[in-house]
Symmetry: none
Subunit: 435 residues, 2 copies
C-alpha cells in the first residue's frame, strides 16, 4: 500500500509556515507499512487543489490531504474534492448539532459561517473531530488509476483499484488525534501487515563519499533493508530501512544490516537514532569515572557547552577556560610568552601547554585544548582559515593534532567541537585516533 500526502495552504506555499504535518504523517504511515511516495503542497486555490487531487489520487492507494477545512473563504478542500468526485456537497446534520454543542460549551453563538464545515461530498464518510470544528472526510475515488512503470508519465490505463482519500484539518492538535484514532487503525487493517523499520547510525570524521565507498554493496539501490546516507552539520548518518511482511523477519534483517554496517565502519559509528556525540562522550566519561577540563580559543566555550549539554555533567565536568586572547592564555593558563611569540597562537606548542596546564589546575583526568582560525579573516598561507590545533592531555602524555576544516566560521567552530569530542571518545574507548 502506498500513500501520497497533499498539504493545502497559502502560508505553506509562501514559506511562512513550515510543513511539519507531512513529516509527522510520513513517519506514522511508515510505522504501519504504508510507503509514502511523495509530498505535495498547493495554495488555497480551488482549481489547483482539484488538479493536485486528480493527479496524485491516480498514482497511489491512499491520498492524505491536510488543511483547507476551516470555516473561512480561503478553505477550499471540500469544494475541490467535490469537483474531483463529481458529487455535490451535502449538509450533515449530525455535525451541525455537534457544532452547536461545541459553541454552547464555550458560551458562544455558532457563527453562521462555521456551518460550511458540515458540508461534505455526497458519498463521503464523516470523520469525527474531538478537538475542533472541522470534521475529517473519507471517500473512495474510482477515477483512472495510472499503472506505474519506468517511463511513468506516458502510460495510462484503467486500474481497478480505487484510491482512498482522507482529508484532515491542518491544525496539528486536531490532525494528529484524528489520524491516530480514526485513520491509522483503518489503514493498519488494510495494509497487509508489511512493516517498515527504520534505524539511523551516526558517524563523524570522514566525508559522505568515503562512507559510501566503504559501505559499497550495502548501499546498492533496491537492497532491502536499504542503506542511504545524509549529512547534517558534519555528521554523516546512515539511514537503514527494512521492509518486510513479517515483523520478525524485519527485525532480523534490520539487525543483520546494522551489524554489517558496524563491521565495515567500526568505531566511526558513535551512536544510533537520537544519540548525540556529546551524549556518547558523557556516557563514556561517566562510566569510567573520569573527569575533563577544557581550554578553548576559537571555539569560545562551545566545547564546554557541548560537554554540559546533558544533566549529570557535573560528574565529569568542573572547569573550563575560554582563553580567546593571547593575554588570557598566558595569564590564566600560563602559556609562556616565548611560545606564543615563537609559534603563534594557533600552534601545536600552544595547545600542548594549554592542555597540560588546564589538566593540572583542574586536577582532571583529561584536558582538551583548541586553538584555530575560524575566520573569515586571520588566515595566512601557512595557516589558512580552517586550521585548528587540538591537544589532549592525559595521564601518560599529551596528544596533539592539526586539522583543516572547510566552510564558514560557524561550520569550522562546530566541526572543531565535534573533532575534540571525537578525540576524547577514541581515547576513552582505548582506540587509536584514526584521523
Amino acid at each position: 500500500m502506498n500513500a501520497i500526502i497533499l498539504s493545502i495552504g497559502d502560508e505553506l506555499v509562501l514559506g511562512q509556515t513550515l510543513d511539519t504535518n507531512s513529516a509527522w504523517l510520513s513517519q506514522q504511515l511508515a510505522g504501519i507499512g504504508c510507503d509514502v511516495a511523495a509530498h505535495r503542497t498547493v495554495a488555497d486555490d480551488r482549481a489547483a487543489i482539484a488538479e493536485a487531487i486528480r493527479e496524485e489520487a491516480a498514482r497511489c492507494d491512499v491520498l492524505l490531504i491536510s488543511g483547507g477545512l476551516g470555516p473561512t473563504d480561503d478553505d477550499l478542500t471540500r469544494e475541490a474534492l467535490a469537483d474531483v468526485l463529481g458529487q455535490p456537497l451535502t449538509l450533515r446534520s449530525e455535525w451541525v448539532d455537534e457544532l452547536q454543542r461545541f459553541f454552547t460549551r464555550l458560551g458562544r453563538t455558532m457563527p453562521e459561517r462555521n456551518k460550511v464545515q458540515a458540508m461534505l461530498p455526497e458519498q463521503a464518510d464523516l470523520i469525527w473531530n474531538n478537538n475542533g470544528t472541522a470534521p475529517g472526510i473519507r471517500v473512495k475515488w474510482s477515477g483512472v488509476r495510472r499503472e506505474e512503470d519506468s517511463s511513468a508519465s506516458q502510460a495510462s490505463r484503467l486500474n481497478p483499484q480505487p484510491c482512498m482519500i482522507f482529508a484532515v484539518p491542518g491544525v496539528p492538535k486536531e490532525m494528529k488525534p484524528m489520524f491516530a484514532d480514526a485513520i491509522k487503525p483503518w489503514l493498519s487493517d488494510r495494509s497487509g501487515g508489511a512493516v517498515i523499520l527504520q534505524k539511523t547510525l551516526h558517524t563523524f570524521g570522514v566525508g559522505e563519499s568515503t562512507i559510501a565507498e566503504r559501505l559499497g554493496e550495502l548501499m546498492k539501490r533496491g537492497r532491502n533493508p536499504s542503506v542511504g546516507t545524509t549529512v547534517s552539520h558534519g555528521v554523516v548518518s546512515l539511514r537503514v530501512n527494512a521492509r518486510f511482511e513479517s515483523p520478525a523477519r524485519a527485525h532480523e534483517e534490520m539487525e543483520q544490516t546494522v551489524k554489517a554496517c558496524r563491521t565495515v565502519l567500526g568505531d566511526l559509528i558513535y551512536g544510533e537514532d537520537g544519540d548525540s556525540l556529546s551524549q556518547r562522550v558523557a556516557e563514556l566519561l561517566t562510566a569510567s569515572g573520569k573527569t575533563v577540563a577544557t581550554a578553548e580559543s576559537c571555539t569560545g566555550g562551545l566545547l564546554a557547552g557541548s560537554l554540559t549539554d546533558l544533566a549529570g555533567s557535573s560528574r565529569f565536568f568542573r572547569y573550563g577556560w575560554v582563553v580567546y586572547s593571547d593575554e588570557a592564555k598566558h595569564k590564566l593558563l600560563d602559556v609562556s610568552q616565548a611560545t606564543l611569540a615563537a609559534h603563534g597562537t594557533v600552534s601545536e606548542q600552544v595547545v600542548r601547554e594549554l592542555a597540560d596546564h588546564a589538566r593540572r589546575v583542574a586536577g582532571a583526568d583529561y584536558a582538551v585544548a583548541i586553538s584555530g582560525i575560524a575566520g573569515p579573516g586571520g588566515g595566512s598561507q601557512q595557516k589558512p582559515v580552517g586550521t585548528v590545533w587540538f591537544a589532549m592531555s592525559y595521564d601518560g602524555g599529551t596528544a596533539a593534532q592539526r586539522f583543516l576544516f572547510s566552510g564558514d566560521r560557524e561550520m569550522i567552530r562546530d566541526r572543531s567541537v565535534k573533532m575534540a569530542l571525537t578525540m576524547l571518545r577514541y581515547h576513552l574507548l582505548g582506540k587509536r585516533f584514526p584521523f
Copy 2:
C-alpha cells in the same frame, strides 16, 4: 513569473528530515515578486523525479529543484533531469579541476565517485558552488507547457514560453549562498510586476501574546502590509509583508509599518531579518570600545560561545570561565566557601562574587555571571528547575536579577544566554533593563 519548488530525498518523503529548504526558498522568491504556486517532494527514484520535473515544469516559469546532487548512488537529480531534457550528461572539466583543488586544500585525495558531480546535462549551465562539491544546474526546458485554466488537467497545448529549471544542492549551507549569489539576481532581473517586500523584526524577553496585544490593530488580518508573529527559540519575531504593484509604494508602506511597530515595541526590538542578539551586542561592544568577560555555571560556556559567534570578537572578548562546580567557582574566581555554603551555588551572592571577580581578573569593562538550575534534576521548592541568577559587574556597580524559565534543559540554557545578552544590551544602550 511563477515558480514551483521540487525537493528530492527519501529522508524527506519518509518524514525523517523536515523540509526547511522549500519554506526558505519560497520566502526568497516572494521577496523578488515571484509567486510560488506549489511545493512537491519525491523520493530518490529516477522515474519519479523525472515525472515530477515533467509535470511541474509544464505549469510554471521557474522550477527550483533542491537535493539529489550528492556523489552517491541515491543522488539521481542529474540523471532524471537529463532524461526529461533528452540530453546526455557530459563531464565539466572546470568542475573536476575545482574538485581536485577542493580535496587538495583539505589534504585529501578526491574519491573517484565525486567525479559524477561534474556531470551535467549537455546544454545546462553550471552554477558555481563555493561551499561544497555539488555544482548547481541551470537549464531551459522547452517541452509542452500547459495553459492554465479552471478545468486544468484536461487542456494541454504548446506554450511558447519555456520553463527555466534550476537544480541546487539540498544542504542548506550550500543551497542558500548559491541561491543568493547566482539564482536570485538572475530571477530578479526577469521578474517584473508586483513586489512583495518582507521584513522581520526580532524581540526577546516577552511572550507572543503580549507582543500581539501591544501591536493591536497592526496585526489585523487583511491589512497590507500585514504583520504576523512567529516564535523560535524564545525569540518572538514580527513578519511584515508588503505587496504592491509599485516598488516605491511597497518600500514606503513597509517603512511606515516598521516604524509603527518600532514605536509600539521600542527597545524590545533588537534587530531585523538576519540579525542575531549576539551580533547586536557585539556591535554595541565594538562601537563603544568596551570589553566583556564571562563566568558561567549552568550555561557551561554557551554565553562565551555566543559572544564569539562572529569574527572580530577578539576586540571585546578575551576571558571566560566555565565554573561548573563549586570547587571551580572558589578556586578560579575566588567565590568564598562561606558564601557558597550559606546561600547555595544558585544565589544572588554567588553570581555577584563571580561577576566582580571575573571583571577584576580579566580587567574588563563588563563581566556577566550566570548560575542556575537547568534541570531536569536539582530543583527544589525554593529554587525550582528554571531558576537562574544573573549578575553584571560594571564600572559603577553590580546588577543582579533572578529569572524563572520554563521548558527543558536545552531551552533553559538557551533562554539564559539570551537573557544575559539582553541585560548587556540594555546596559550598553544606556536604558533601564525592563524585566
